[in-house]
């Protein structure tokens, strides 16, 4: 105990002073709709900017800001300029929880866009009381089908196809293109991976060996990867003469670690690698040290055009915007996806009308969202009862340059649902891009 009176007084005084300072620094009372003023709209995003996932996703907020700046330079949304507040959650659920809470409480954003990660966003949604505060949670950057549950996530709108859908398409692709080959699933050990596992089960796909659950943590020791490769070698030994299909359902750093381990062990060409869309960005894999000879031939699935395909009008437009508004950042699939989501966001804000409210933007997506223009080669599924964005995939194959071309040379789009529905070939035709990439919808 502080016996000395003056010391005690000093501590007490300093405590009161600091407390008072913090209380008094409360911001002035907010407008009726948080994040919206006559001249601006404030949006927020919590995503990995640093850390292992930051390597691939770190570009997303910057790319979205670039598109928003382009729109702001062209009149904004009914005269309001869009600002995006970006916070780093390092792909860690607890940080996502605190940063998202900060976005709502401190930054007073109107809506969240592009929240990233399954485990991260699930925790963040609850911690930041998004349901209670009715904060729109737009175009989340994850395929976890749980987010379509409107009871648990009443304000969430997906954009990526669910992982369950992807698994079903992969299952069909394996059945159609690699009949008779043994197959194994290596999935990330969290809700993301589990979603994929469920999808394969729903598709009725039987793997030849038990699923390998790859622990998600911040350590990836060589021993762990080597153990996985050893078990894969066991698969080869059990079925000589085959070329097993290995499905990798994890983020890029996980995919890269495994591909590198396989290359180090010299067995990379003994398997057909099927990389789930989340982990298949060729540029990132190359940056993480995977050899281009290993990447050559990796099969994957996508629902967007390839970022290197300049014949696609959307891609070309986004590349232009990137050059002008996002200097020094190389355009890749992540930038493409980010700008695409930004374009969807602008259309949603416009569709809500000049009197912008949280309720308004959400019902706008429900009623008009399915018709929004976007770069996606598959349809959007928004409706009064569905929060699903894209609902399909096309099968791609990477070459040594890291380009993703349609598998077998012809683009075939599959659509399906997250449940037991069949996988069907789609005849979807993409809406024309608005002139100069500036939406004029209402």
């Amino acid at each position: 105990m502080i016996r000395n009176k003056s010391m005690r007084r000093a501590s007490l005084v300093s405590t009161i002073v600091v407390t008072g300072a913090m209380l008094l620094s409360t911001l002035p009372a907010q407008a009726a709709t948080p994040g919206v003023t006559a001249t601006g709209i404030k949006l927020g995003i919590s995503s990995p900017l640093t850390g292992s996932a930051g390597l691939s996703y770190g570009k997303v907020p910057g790319a979205m800001k670039a598109y928003f700046n382009y729109i702001n330079a062209n009149g904004g949304v009914y005269g309001r300029k869009i600002t995006l507040v970006s916070r780093d959650d390092k792909y860690l659920p607890v940080r996502a929880a605190t940063e998202t809470t900060n976005l709502i409480l401190k930054d007073n954003v109107f809506a969240l866009v592009g929240a990233l990660g399954t485990a991260t966003h699930a925790k963040a949604y609850k911690a930041a009381a998004l349901a209670a505060k009715n904060v729109p949670d737009l175009f989340v950057n994850t395929g976890f089908s749980g987010f379509t549950n409107q009871v648990k996530y009443p304000t969430t709108f997906m954009v990526l196809p669910t992982y369950a859908m992807e698994a079903k398409v992969i299952a069909k692709a394996i059945k159609d293109n690699f009949p008779g080959q043994p197959s194994v699933l290596i999935a990330q050990d969290d809700e993301f991976g589990t979603d994929g596992v469920a999808g394969f089960t729903a598709a009725g796909h039987k793997f030849s060996a038990p699923n390998v659950l790859y622990p998600q943590g911040y350590f990836s020791t060589a021993g762990r990867d080597a153990a996985v490769i050893t078990s894969l070698k066991g698969l080869l030994a059990a079925a000589p003469g085959s070329k097993p299909v290995i499905v990798l359902f994890g983020t890029t750093d996980v995919t890269a670690a495994l591909l590198k381990a396989a290359t180090d062990a010299g067995v990379e060409k003994s398997f057909t690698w099927y990389a789930g869309s989340v982990g298949a960005d060729a540029n990132t894999l190359l940056a993480l040290g995977v050899k281009s000879t290993t990447i050559d031939g990796v099969v994957s699935a996508s629902f967007m055009p390839d970022a290197k395909d300049l014949t696609d009008p959307y891609v070309k437009q986004f590349v232009d915007i990137n050059t002008k508004y996002n200097k020094d950042i190389a355009f890749d699939n992540y930038v493409l996806a980010a700008m695409n989501s930004a374009m969807l966001t602008v259309q949603a804000l416009r569709a809500a009308g000049k009197d912008l409210t949280r309720e308004g933007v959400m019902s706008a997506i429900e009623t008009k969202g399915a018709k929004f223009a976007s770069a996606g080669l598959v349809p959007l599924g928004y409706s009064a009862t569905s929060r699903i964005g894209y609902n399909g995939y096309w099968v791609s194959q990477l070459n040594a340059k890291g380009e993703g071309k349609p598998f077998g040379g012809k683009l075939v789009v599959y659509t399906t649902d997250s449940g037991a529905g069949a996988v069907t070939v789609s005849t979807f035709v993409r809406p024309t891009m608005p002139k100069n990439g500036i939406p004029t919808n209402s």
Partner: protein, 298 residues
Amino acid sequence: MSEFITAVLTSLSSGAIYALMSIALVLVWRSTRVINFAQAGQAVLTTYIGYDIVQKTGSYWIALAGAVISGAVIGAVIDRFFMRPIFKRVNSGPIVMIAPVAATLGLLGIIQALIGFKWGLTNQSIEAPVSTNGIKVLGSAIAFSKFNLLVLVFVSVAVLLLTLLFQRTNIGLALRASAYSPEIARLSGIKVDTVRTLGWAIAGASSGLAGMLYIPGAFLYPNAMDLLLVFGFIAAVIGGLESLFGAVAGAMVLAFAINFATTYISPKLFFPTAFIVLVLVLLVRPAGLFAAKMSRKA
């Protein structure tokens, strides 16, 4: 059998790196009676300097030399301008127990923050100068690469040089004397303060080498060497915090324990093994497995 050989070889190569860190900690402990938690910061800082050199010159070897030299300089500067003034000021009251730990911890935090300021927080990497693929023995690759071999060679040379320094030179004698008994050393004309700074310099060089040998197999970010600090500390404690030999031997014991546990029992035992080994040693032979004296209460 090949699993056994692999485990032995990987133990040797990780043990070699732990040894460098452990040596650094023991050197500082013996000269200043402080566990230098900031050693992790020094190691990672010098590695970032090495990274910059690689970016500019493309040569790993120049970077290695640069890291070691800057490690020595930084170590000396820290002792002379940070530790010494603090110890002069803080020399009474219960804070004396906390001060060294708080000081080195605070220094660690500051170094890591400064690295964040200058280099940012994204993971960087340094390419190894030789192959990191498993060497092919009898057709199949083992988990030991040319780079692992390089690490072993370098550390062995370093330990040899240090041993020669300590046992065969006057400076080495002065270092040992100052550590053993500063008053008597001073009386016999040894500039104890200078010698102590020299100890910090050598420690800095050692941790600089450790960083450059460790990072090519991992990512470089401000906290990249924290783990190595913990393992270096555990290795030093196992070895007795007394001697070069103890530091190296302790590192090997730790590395073997960890590698064999993760290979034969479960890969998940990576950290728990280290902690268990530490606790066992502290309970059974608190002075360390290789120590002569029995005291370890500071």
